[in-house]
Symmetry: C2
Subunit: 147 residues, 2 copies
Amino acid sequence: MDVEGAHEILTKFLKSNGKLRSTPERFAVLDTILQIQGHFDADSLYYRMITKGVKISKATVYNSLDLLQECGLVSKYRFAENTSRYEKAFGRPQHHHLICLECGDIIEFVNDHLDRLQDEVCGEKGFTPQSSALQVFGTCSKCKKKG
Amino acid sequence: MDVEGAHEILTKFLKSNGKLRSTPERFAVLDTILQIQGHFDADSLYYRMITKGVKISKATVYNSLDLLQECGLVSKYRFAENTSRYEKAFGRPQHHHLICLECGDIIEFVNDHLDRLQDEVCGEKGFTPQSSALQVFGTCSKCKKKG
DNA sequence: CTCGGTGCAAATGCTTTGCAATGTC
DNA sequence: GACATTGCAAAGCATTTGCACCGAG
């Protein structure tokens, strides 16, 4: 994960909108996210930052996550729970999720064919896609063996 | 939509689990849902029932929705907002959603090919699918014309 | 110096829970 | 009669908001 590249994207995005300002908090959130593997929620991101000694409030964490989502550096998902989950989107291919209902594990997968099919459907309906999320709920191989 | 068929499914489900009881509230919720076209949330379902003179509490509406989801009569989705959305699942094919970020419109579509591809991926990963949700966020044709 | 951003705490809104009353089996 | 279910109101939880203070441009 290229930290400088991500910073550059954020900087450009902030400048392109005359009203948005470049603050240390926004870059601190971005830096922390870049170190996280897999999914996370706003709360765990907040505590991770606090633990590392970064001074920030939860409100700013939420605010920054929205901003990072707008400039495409972060993806926001909503699985079964009532918590939003995020993950870094920088330099990663579009991917989808298999979610195990027993252990909560999330398996990612990529499938070009599926993405193409999706675009076809959108074309038929005159719909312009921006982002998409395919979530398959079920039982993973580990839990099948256990049960 | 076959009301009797739906009742039968619920009745069998309740009996198959020794502890679950058959209550008028549960059937009232099911009946109301059968009359609704498209998506709805717990709150609007509650007010719809109250308006029609059905005596029920919100807690019971939530409780019943969970139950109906378990026996496959109702699907639960979570789109962008922080509200869960439901729709009847009885007698309907598996379908997916195009969600317009501008007007909030939800366009449904069915695609066998896509479903088959999904199953293939699951097979490769040793994952047993139970249900799935594909959500494509973007702009619908109406909003494109406006904008 | 101006106005957007931050931080706190309080507010919001959906959903769940505790508990007494009720109704199913 | 036993115990699951209901209804109400209160509690929970993630997220948002109001407002005084701060700091980027």
